[in-house]
Symmetry: C2
Subunit: 152 residues, 2 copies
DNA sequence: CTAAATAGTTAAGCGACCTAAAATATAAGG
DNA sequence: CCTTATATTTTAGGTCGCTTAACTATTTAG
């Protein structure tokens, strides 16, 4: 129970929206047949653009052997592309394919539909008030130091 | 590219916070050693309070045999309790134990820490603006019809 | 009382995914 | 050139989680 009413409101909002995001995420994972590791890998690539096998393994906290095997499956499913780094031929450059990108975007679609439903219940004045607050939040989150090993 | 600036802002906020929530979630899943199904089951119980084996299987989209086996593991880990329904002795009543609750709350803590960091960067006026907007959002989400089979 | 339906568990088999260890290829430093 | 370090893959072996099918227990309907 935080004393700051702002913190209480923010926590409440995160709680409410987390329930929705989690459901979307879990349902999506099951429907797409992707494991936690797969999703972790695809999202890392989605945000980072490219990375090597060992690097991805570190990120997911598995051995490079495990990462190699998992990536092989993703290659076979056509979700990622694995090419040689011309600068250091020991390294593989992993990138999402168009199909991989589409699979991820699909997981995001359910959230957009939810937002659409939400928007319909709001008046113009309410939208304006919310927009003001969210714009501040977005700006601050962007400048906030990232606790994990990569940036947004 | 939505024409409504409100929708654009809301989508942007969800995008920014989703990145953070996903990372928290995936890291948490790996650290706690829980599979996607485990987490799906625990969260269902967290929100619903109790349910039967087959019911949970339907929710997670697996057979009742799979649900039974998974719940057996969760029982052994002390995360859930499985008792007989006195009204229909074929049915089992599944509930979270205190330990199960603690494990879930732990997954939520990382988010609270992030919010704490965020709060420190805000002025009182900014907090006020954000609070106004979020309170509207929370209220609307609460009254929004749930698309899935359960309520918040 | 008996037959059919329902809830859950158990058993066998399979694929996914992880690890450790060995193998392969490349790079970097004397 | 030779050694050592680095990046990845392959192999062998174990555990997990899923399915189908068979089985037990209980309830419901006739």
């Amino acid at each position: 129970m935080p004393s700051d009413p702002f913190v209480a409101t923010l926590e409440e909002w995160i709680k409410v929206s987390r329930h929705r995001l989690m459901r979307n995420f879990i349902d999506y994972a099951r429907k797409s047949g992707l494991s936690m590791s797969h999703i972790g890998a695809l999202f890392h690539l989605y945000h980072e653009g490219t990375c090597g096998v060992t690097e991805l393994g570190n990120h997911l906290d598995v051995t490079s052997a495990a990462a190699s095997q998992m990536l092989e499956r993703l290659v076979q499913q056509g979700l990622i592309l694995r090419t040689e780094d011309p600068d250091d031929r020991r390294v593989r450059q992993i990138v999402l394919t168009d199909k991989g990108n589409r699979v991820l975007e699909e997981g995001i679609r359910a959230q957009k539909m939810w937002l659409g439903d939400l928007t319909e219940t709001l008046s113009a004045a309410e939208k304006e008030d919310i927009t003001v607050g969210l714009k501040i939040l977005i700006e601050k989150v962007r400048t906030l130091k990232q606790p994990v090993e990569f940036a947004n």
